[in-house]
């Protein structure tokens, strides 16, 4: 990034204490930018906000004065819940324009990269840019282009929301720079599209270029792709030659030299980011440079030759899968001869299927469960391949893992979870699991059958004697896939051992099936998939029919009736005082004497003490409900109605 000349500090502090628009009192100067002084302010309720005032040196310029307020107005029109909320704007008594907006708690992307020393997980980087794209897409839909996106203008709040700062301010910065004789673009040059570099107007695709450059920075820790560099922007492939081709292609397309070559709009780029987030090889990858090597490093010319997803081999939905869609997941390209990544295709498909089924996604666990058992023999040929190269499964290592698991399970059953021997065995298991996860650089997956666990068509665990019930129980309860993910903690493994050792015939527990126990445990680095509720074709057909009918119901277009309804409703009804009547009922509170009064809007809020008490009460119902159960049993036995009520 090139250096920029510091702007002259103006006496912004003089305004502290003054009140803007009769509502916002300035309480401190947060800083001064090229265009404005930025203050912390409080509103009449004590709420903290940010107020920006045009710099003193610029206020004489009518273009800037008008543009400043217009920019504030424009920022309010972005039309996305995560855009910065503009609370007001106006003129001070002495004619300085100001804009008041919400105070953000968090940090900019630039600070984040700096704090993490450039080491963001690739999936994390993609998610940040995806969320920024949502805001930018909304702005573009309203005809607004940012034109000045940099990691300094993208903000992640403490609650994880992405905010895009500085909408409408790009032109102001240019004008202010002219007046102040500073280099306005210096700090943003790496993120400016070539057409802007040449002095052209920013278009929607210029913002996509900037976000591509931001993604580049987040992925690599270095500045943007420097489009101004001789020979065009640096390709991500020079930094991470083994990165997944589709990710390279995504960045490359966003950074294309002309707008026409980039994504047509922000939504298309977001879709590409979403697709990249589905790449199993990115899961838990700490850095792109750690990506497992592919057959050959992907030179840029290879990237464009990658076949589109829809042209790759696909696995047809198995006849007994509940949900065809997850099984339509694209298979990875066939391994080239000598390709080091010889992991069994079934396992890789399982990864994709699991991902597509919503695991770790926004709607985790909402899709009907999928049966991965059928995937065990997808590619028998690849199962014969010796597993030796980095990233491949180490069958011997897995067998050792299960030997240690057996020792931990037997100790748990014999001595209990708290016993020192059990802790020792779990520790030994954990150490070996860590080694395996580190050497495979991906998750460990097993198909579960009634006799044991298999990987790549090979049995890795088939316990006998007392432990034979472990896979049998898992299988009968519906578990078909179990996986351990990098980052697995000892406490999680200990809990998993507890669950696997669980015997409902002897254990005192409220649960009798392992799927529920696994679900309740919610172990972040242990994944399982279970068969769903539809065990026969008829039930599955009914589900499909139900789903078709539900979809048809919500897609039934009645918009043609709207105008008639609107006209008729208008003729005969006058606006009701619905707010007051609702508040009258919903806003009721009780005072200490138990008398009801209307507390107004504030009474709609559940106060923290009420929340806490309600949560505690809900959690205690397991115990309370059990205590009352005897009474219910008597009711069920004796009957009916009259004396069913226990007293």
């Amino acid at each position: 990034m090139k250096g920029s000349r510091d702007v002259v500090e103006s006496p912004g502090k003089a305004r502290i204490g003054s009140v803007l628009g009769g509502r916002w009192q300035l309480v401190g100067l947060l800083g001064s930018g090229l265009v404005s002084h930025v203050y912390e302010a409080v509103d009449e309720t004590g709420g903290r906000v940010v107020a920006c005032l045009l710099r003193d040196e610029l206020v004489a310029d009518s273009e800037l004065r008008e543009g400043f307020v217009a920019a504030g107005r424009e920022a309010a029109q972005v039309g996305h819940a995560d855009s910065v909320r503009v609370l007001g704007h106006g003129l001070t008594d002495d004619g300085y324009p100001f804009v008041v907006s919400e105070l953000l708690e968090g940090e900019t992307f630039a600070k984040l990269v700096q704090r993490r020393r450039g080491r963001l997980y690739p999936a994390e980087a993609l998610r940040l840019v995806r969320d920024a794209l949502d805001v930018v897409a909304a702005a573009h839909a309203n005809g607004m282009v940012h034109g000045d996106l940099t990691p300094d203008r993208l903000f992640i709040t403490d609650r994880g929301t992405i905010k895009v700062l500085g909408f409408g301010i790009a032109a102001l910065r240019r004008r202010a720079a002219e007046l102040l004789e500073v280099d306005t673009v210096a700090d943003a040059e790496s993120y400016r599209a070539p057409e802007q570099q040449r002095g052209g107007t920013a278009v929607a695709q210029s913002d996509l270029f900037a976000l591509g450059a931001v993604l580049y920075t987040l992925l690599t820790g270095s500045d943007g792709a420097d489009p101004g560099a001789r020979g065009g922007p640096r390709s991500l492939v020079t930094f991470a030659p083994t990165a997944p081709p589709s990710l390279l292609k995504l960045v490359e397309r966003a950074l294309a030299p002309t707008p026409d070559e980039r994504f047509p709009d922000a939504r298309a780029m977001r879709a590409a980011v979403d697709q990249a987030l589905m790449l199993p090889e990115l899961l838990n990858l700490r850095s792109l440079q750690d990506a497992p090597a592919r057959a050959t490093p992907a030179p840029r010319s290879d990237v464009s030759r990658e076949p589109p997803l829809s042209h790759r081999n696909t696995l047809p939905a198995p006849p007994d899968s509940e949900q065809g869609a997850p099984f339509s997941a694209a298979l990875p390209r066939p391994s080239a001869p000598g390709n080091g990544s010889g992991r069994h295709a079934a396992v890789r498909v399982a990864e994709r299927a699991a991902l597509r089924a919503g695991w770790r996604g926004g709607l985790a666990d909402t899709m009907p469960a999928i049966d991965l058992n059928v995937l065990a023999d997808v590619d028998p040929a690849s199962a014969q391949r010796p597993a030796r190269a980095r990233g491949e499964l180490d069958i011997d290592g897995l067998r050792e893992l299960f030997a240690r698991l057996e020792r931990a399970l037997l100790s748990k059953i014999a001595h209990g979870a708290e016993h020192a021997k059990t802790a020792r065995e779990v520790r030994a298991l954990c150490e070996h699991t860590d080694e395996l996860l580190a050497s495979t650089r991906t998750a460990l997956y097993w198909n579960v059958n009634e006799k044991g666990f298999t990987t790549a068509g090979k049995s890795v665990w088939q316990p006998e004697g007392e432990l034979a019930r472990v896979p049998a129980r898992l299988f009968s309860d519906g578990v078909r896939l179990l996986a351990l993910l990098p980052g697995l903690e000892r406490s999680e493994l200990g809990r998993l051992v507890d669950i696997l050792a669980y015997d409902p015939d002897t254990a005192a527990s409220q649960e009798d099936d392992l799927v529920t126990l696994l679900w309740q445990a919610a172990l972040p680095h242990v994944m399982h998939h279970a068969v769903g509720p539809f065990v026969d074709q008829e039930a599955r057909a009914r589900f499909e029919q139900e789903k078709r009918e539900t979809l048809a119901l919500v897609r039934f277009d009645t918009s043609f009736q709207l105008e008639d309804c609107w006209q008729q409703a208008r003729d005969d009804t006058s606006p009701a005082q619905w707010r007051e009547s609702l508040l009258l009922v919903l806003g009721q509170r009780r005072n200490e004497d138990g008398q009801t009064f209307v507390g107004g809007r504030a009474a709609l809020r559940v106060d923290p003490a009420e929340r806490e008490a309600t949560a505690a009460r809900l959690a205690s119902e397991e115990r309370v409900g059990t205590a009352r159960f005897e009474a219910v049993l008597r009711a069920a036995d004796s009957n009916p109605g009259k004396d069913g009520n226990s007293s």
Binding site: D365, T550, V554, L604
Partner: protein, 320 residues
């Protein structure tokens, strides 16, 4: 003023996934009730799986789950009502708790709450006379216990909760539930509240229902209603609940899509504008958050359009 600032609807929302889950849950509960009606011994396992998935889904915060409220008018049968009430109860409980065990128990009880009615209806072929209504709570408990197989002690909370739901809904006939000085279980009261809301919006007899705000007001005014639960319900679905058809001061019609983040801004929910100022259907829906931006810069809700006047597919506006 026109509601021009827009967010194209449907972004990043998985309609197919939510509706797939909804259909999956209805099918599962339908099969369960069918077994009950045929006096077979149903298995609790599918109900547990559905309850767990619904509990997971409500953790996603997807506004589409709230939109399931709009499907209540179209599907008023017992399995659908059970699923709708489970989703609503979970959304309310999620306001205060992320305890997976408690949430799944709550959903299980909501899904099985009509078991007793279904069992008894097989002998009458339909509506139950008072004599049989009085038996419903006990029969509900019987079904819950039977479904749990040989280990009824595992089913205690869901059985007790379902029993109390059945009792509370018939307290006019059976008298107050006196099982404890603490009063009915919180879970039971919550399920009864959301079922009451659903039955006011979409009565099971098929007659026209109230608008969602009127239904909410009616539930809040019901004698014995718990004001904290009502406030949690308001936080979950809004004082002007999701699915309400409103008229803006611009003359445009809109459907409430999500409650405001701050419940005190009750009349500033997130909406989808479905008509222009002349009542013509918009070719593309526009989504607008009435709580974003200073008051006066955005349209405001002028009135609630009664369900009888809003004769269009409200669900279609939310599941785009």
């Amino acid at each position: 003023m026109s509601a021009t600032p827009s967010l194209p609807p449907g972004d990043s929302l998985d309609v197919d996934g939510v509706l797939g889950l909804y259909a999956c849950a209805i099918t599962t509960v339908g099969s369960f009730y069918e077994s009950v009606a045929h006096a077979d011994v149903p298995s609790i396992v599918p109900i547990k799986r559905v309850a767990e998935r619904l509990a997971s889904a409500t953790a996603s915060g997807s506004p589409l789950l709230r939109a399931i409220l709009t499907l209540a008018v179209a599907r008023r049968d017992l399995p659908a009502r059970a699923v709708q009430s489970a989703v609503l109860a979970l959304l309310v409980a999620r306001e205060v708790s992320d305890n997976r065990t408690a949430l799944s128990r709550l959903a299980e009880a909501a899904l099985m709450a009509d078991s007793g009615s279904v069992l008894l209806a097989r002998s009458t072929g339909g509506s139950l006379p008072d004599r049989l209504q009085a038996e419903v709570p006990a029969k509900t408990a019987t079904v819950c216990l039977t479904a749990s197989g040989a280990t009824p002690d595992l089913a205690q909370v869901r059985t007790t909760t379902a029993f109390e739901v059945a009792w509370l809904e018939r307290s006019a006939l059976l008298g107050p539930l006196k099982s404890s000085a603490m009063g009915p279980l919180l879970g039971a009261r919550l399920i009864v509240m959301v079922r009451a809301l659903l039955s006011r919006i979409a009565p099971q007899g098929g007659e026209p229902g109230l608008s969602p705000p009127d239904a909410l007001r009616s539930v809040a005014q019901k004698p014995g209603s718990d004001p904290v639960l009502v406030r949690l319900l308001v936080a979950a679905i809004g004082a002007v609940p999701v699915g309400t058809v409103v008229e803006l001061d611009t003359g445009e019609w809109a459907v409430v899509a999500a409650p405001p983040a701050d419940p005190t801004r009750m009349d500033q929910p997130r909406i989808r504008v479905v008509t222009d100022t002349k009542g013509r259907a918009r070719e593309q829906l526009v989504e607008l958050d009435l709580a974003v931006g200073p008051r006066g810069s955005l349209p405001s809700i002028q009135r609630i359009v009664p369900p009888g006047k809003a004769r269009f597919n409200v669900a279609a506006a939310l599941f785009v």
